[in-house]
Assembly symmetry: C2
Homo-oligomer: 244 residues x 2
């Protein structure tokens, strides 16, 4: 079984309480959400939604990593988003999903039935506002990614991706823990995210390793040895180009 329902966690103890769509909600509003939410878990590798599926639920990622992708007729695929904890899945006012959503690691979602959630948006400005903010943040991220896809070299793409992982994993409560970071995707998935082939991804990672920028503890875990060199290799200027 690759989908399962999971024990209820209280919103007030939820690890994404202050970043997800519920971030601005007060206790009363949280109570309402609490009543209509369901947790669902997916195993690494299993599909969460396929393009064209009816959107019965919208959801927040509670933990794990999911990918949002498009596929062409001939099989070429492009990932258009990486969904980390607190990211939102689904679009209010649409009843079909436009993308394939796949669990890259084991994933737990906090799901709300779409219809009741849509009604909630209309009556709860705190949710509508936060959703707006999330949509606009994603739009900014998508546009930064367009620069990456259209103009960056393979090495710059990889460096930018790694740097984004560092930044986003640091935001989460992992500070002070082990200094090594998880690479939540296979080489092929990274390639699909960056508009490259898996061989190019492999070569560029090896190259960053040889240049002393990264070390790998195993294929899915690495450590950044030279953050300045990594930053330099992204092609972004020092301050700008923030992805998330």
């Amino acid at each position: 079984m690759n989908v399962s329902f999971t024990a209820h966690i209280k919103c007030s103890e939820c690890p994404i309480r202050h970043r997800a769509v519920c971030a601005r909600c007060d206790d009363d509003e949280l109570q309402t959400l609490e009543a209509i939410k369901i947790y669902r878990s997916f195993e690494a590798g299993s599909p969460i939604l396929w393009r064209g599926d009816e959107l019965k639920y919208v959801a927040s990622v509670v933990n794990g990593v999911a990918t949002l992708g498009k596929t062409m007729e001939d099989g070429r695929t492009q990932m258009v988003g990486l969904l980390l904890p607190s990211d939102f899945i689904g679009r209010p006012g649409r009843n079909e999903i436009e993308f394939d959503v796949v669990a890259a690691t084991d994933v737990t979602l906090c799901c709300f039935e779409r219809r009741p959630f849509e009604r909630l948006i209309e009556t709860t400005p705190h949710i509508a506002q936060r959703l707006m903010e999330i949509a606009l943040d994603e739009l900014d991220a998508a546009r930064d990614w367009m620069l990456l896809l259209g103009r960056k070299t393979a090495r710059e793409k990889i460096a930018t991706f790694i740097e984004m992982l560092v930044r986003r994993q640091n935001i989460q409560g992992l500070d002070g823990a082990s200094p090594d970071l998880a690479l939540p995707l296979t080489r092929e998935e990274v390639a699909n995210y960056l508009g490259l082939t898996l061989e190019t991804v492999s070569r560029q990672l090896t190259s960053l390793k040889n240049d002393g920028v990264l070390t790998f503890t195993d294929r899915r875990h690495f450590e950044v040895k030279d953050i300045a060199a990594l930053q330099e290799a992204t092609g972004d200027d020092a301050d700008g180009g923030v992805i998330f």
Copy 2:
């Protein structure tokens, strides 16, 4: 002078009345907007906003075409959006713009001071909802463009771009008028939009012309001779992949 103020047009007679941020407003709400809007015009080629500028105004494009782009330190640029009539410029809740906005043709904007507009959003759900919808549409468009930038060939990119122009110019009131369409960008601008060089754009346009898909009346005007072949050349499947 490349910026000028323009005579006031009544909202009720505005060509973008039913597609812009004001689309859902009733007469009363329109009245409020009417009071705080200002038209501004820009000549082709002149900058509207630079990255880092203070966002004093948000605006809708009334007519003309503007481009939204990012520039890297070394001068590489990537266009991340094409702003056609009814498109929205600016992000409520941000006081700096993240992109360069440039008038590609002569452009007229319907501008609202940002602060009063932000207050309006909070009191006028019709505007907030429409803005949300616009943001989500742009996000979908950005993600479709990511597929283009990451995975499509030069020919597919050009075909997709042309097809998008056809679709978007048909939405506007031009049906039945002249069958030839405007190419609102230079070859270099098209290249920046598609993640190509201007030479590649030129070669691919020539190739589509030689294949009988397009004819050019002059460099900025063309006619689609074989819409099926154009569609085929985009690499998208028949129904899906809608860009706007």
